[in-house]
Amino acid sequence: MSPAEHLADAGLVQLLTPAGERVDHPVYSPLAAHLDGDALRAMYRDMVLVRRFDNEATSLQRQGELGLWAQSLGQEGAQVGSGHALAPQDYVFPSYREHGVAQTRGVDLANLLRLFRGIDHGGWDPTAHNFHLYTLVIGSHTLHATGYAMGVQRDGLVGTGDPTRDTAVVTYFGDGATSQGDVNEALVFAAVNNAPLVLFCQNNQWAISEPTTRQARVPLADRGLGFGVPSVRVDGNDVIASYAVTAEALERARSGGGPTFIEAFTYRMGAHTTSDDPTRYRSAAEDEYWRQRDPIDRLRLHLEQTDELPAAFATDLEAEAVALGERIRSTVRSWGPPTPASMFDHVYASPNSVVDSERAWFESYESTFAPTQGGAR
């Protein structure tokens, strides 16, 4: 029995079976009832584009163009479904694998690669997309999301009844992160402050090589309950259910009902990162089990069965994905390194005599190299 099966249980919200059939859920079906063909195709498009992007990035890493890459492969349902439930004014604090959410926030996917190419620690303007920078210290951003949500409360943007103003904050993190003190403190602070926060945990079954059973002996969603935070487990490979549970949690947050913990049960189909070797710790049978539950296949089957996937749409989407791949490749390859002296930029927002004098020294040191050698250094 794989760890996945051990922790899977009937409490999982599912609105779309792996065979692509819609199933009814008394609470969550109504929240997805308005998703028409256009809405579902928009989700499908995002998932397909992100997967193409993800594969390109993996290739670029193999070609030496990126130092590292963390794939979202297999988690597109949880990410795109939840991302589609967000309103423009909502704010997202991602971990480092939320490429699907970035796509739904309008971040140019190419910019996600600056970090992994080693030319930027960030890569995009968080406030332009209400999508914070990736955070690599596991779980620490969940507190930033909580504080941000406390700020939203103080701004009076909770429970106004105006859907264009009421604001929620969502933070994404993994199964491994649930063991971190910061995630537990985020739950405490969010709970006692009734913060408009959605804690979206993607249980992709693995924290590098450790299965979720090394983090918890109960379903992760039970963690939320211990803090008095309403919690739900959703089939994260079901994009429609992921949308619905997130929509419900966001509505609770925006209307003043406080935080929600979501455990999206999904699977990291790729390696942890391009430096990882999953064959050392998990079986081919497990991979195969989850390949049968691929979130993109599932939605495609559903669209086909309901005659909502016109051939022209599929052809256009394939062309769009190919073009995206080409653009990603050429963009990444065009990025040279920043100037060495740029390491002194933005250490402080105010003048700093120590940084200034070290920069001045470095620049004069640099200038002692003859221009002919300069390029080669």
């Binding site: 210290v137 930033h144 406390m150 700020g151 250490v347």
Partner: protein, 335 residues
């Protein structure tokens, strides 16, 4: 000019009050800072006057305090966190060093985090374990943070306002042994801008408290008072000691230190933190680099030993007290 004779604690309280009045985005957060007014009463009365949303009693979790302060700052607020005691800042160490210190840098200057972290620090109050420590060098070692420590009520009043006005995160170390010291403080004149070269008492500046010609004595926070006493005692014995209150640990106001040492040719640094890898070591290195041909003696350090902060009954033997500072001054004069 309205001067009032107030304690160090009251000076910070008054500075916090003024910041709360002037900027609706300022808020205080910490453990027991509300109805109780903090364990040292530094926030006394502020909860009553500004309410629980601006003077926030937080859950008992330091990482949570600093982590949520970062989020509030990202939303446009200016949080001032109180860490109850020096020895309890470590649960927040990760948030401070990996998140708070780096956000401006990693966002290419797009995000600023004007967060102040107030830390009652240092010993000399007969406390139990974890209540007397001086962890400032750990933060001064971290790029992206400013680290300051006032030594007297007037500076405390001005510097807390400057720290809150700073666009960069500030670790604000309050010498708890000085909380009950009283001095005349001008509560009307606005504090100078925090960081401009033109501001002689900006957050970037050390200050010469007493002029002298034989030895430069550098101290900050709790150690300034014994340093001044040492200078007075040495004067009676015929040695002229120039005392500099460092005020800012990061960045270091090296120019002020160098100007003094080039004049005196001798330098002693005193602080409560262990001297090994401490602020004094950094000062010694920088002063030596820039005053090599002016120095009559090696720079000497007086401070904590490489031992955990000792039990209260013997803490006076660990601290850089009057006698130990005088001993170091004498030693520099023997070269």
């Amino acid at each position: 000019m309205t001067t009032e004779r107030i304690t160090f604690a009251k000076a910070i309280n008054s500075g916090l009050r003024r910041a709360l009045e002037q900027d609706p985005k300022v808020l205080l957060m910490g453990e027991d800072i509300g109805a109780l007014g903090g364990v040292f009463r530094v926030t006394d009365g502020l909860h009553k006057d500004f309410g629980p949303d601006r003077v926030v009693d937080t859950p008992l979790a330091e990482s949570g305090i600093v982590g949520t302060a970062i989020g509030l700052a990202l939303r446009g607020y200016r949080p001032v966190c109180e860490i109850q005691f020096d020895g309890f800042i470590f649960p927040a160490f990760d948030q401070i060093t990996t998140q708070l210190a780096k956000m401006h840098y990693r966002s290419q200057g797009r995000l600023t985090l004007p967060v102040v972290i107030r830390v009652p620090f240092g010993g000399g109050i007969g406390a139990i374990e974890h209540h007397s420590e001086s962890p400032e060098a750990l933060f001064a070692h971290t790029p992206g943070l400013r680290v300051v420590s006032p030594s007297n009520p007037a500076d405390a009043y001005a510097m807390i306002q400057q720290a809150i006005a700073s666009p960069d995160p500030v670790l604000f170390f309050e010498p708890k042994v000085r909380y009950w010291d009283k001095a005349d403080v001008d509560l009307e004149t606005p504090a100078e801008p925090p960081h401009t070269d033109a501001a002689p008492t900006g957050l970037d500046r050390a200050r010469v408290l007493r002029e002298g010609t034989d030895v430069t004595l550098i101290a900050y926070g709790p150690s300034v008072a014994p340093a001044l006493k040492a200078a007075a005692t040495a004067a009676a014995e015929g040695t002229s000691v120039e005392v500099i209150d460092l005020r800012t640990i990061s960045p270091l106001d090296t120019d002020t230190l160098v100007a003094s040492v080039r004049k005196t040719g001798r330098c002693v640094v005193a602080h409560e933190a262990p001297v090994l890898y401490g602020t004094g070591a950094e000062i010694a290195a920088r002063v030596t680099e820039r005053c090599f041909f002016h120095l009559q003696a090696p720079v000497l350090r007086v401070g904590g030993f490489h031992v955990p902060y000792p039990v209260a009954k013997i803490e006076q033997d660990y601290l850089p007290n009057l006698d130990r500072i005088l001993e170091a001054i004498d030693r520099t004069l023997t070269f």
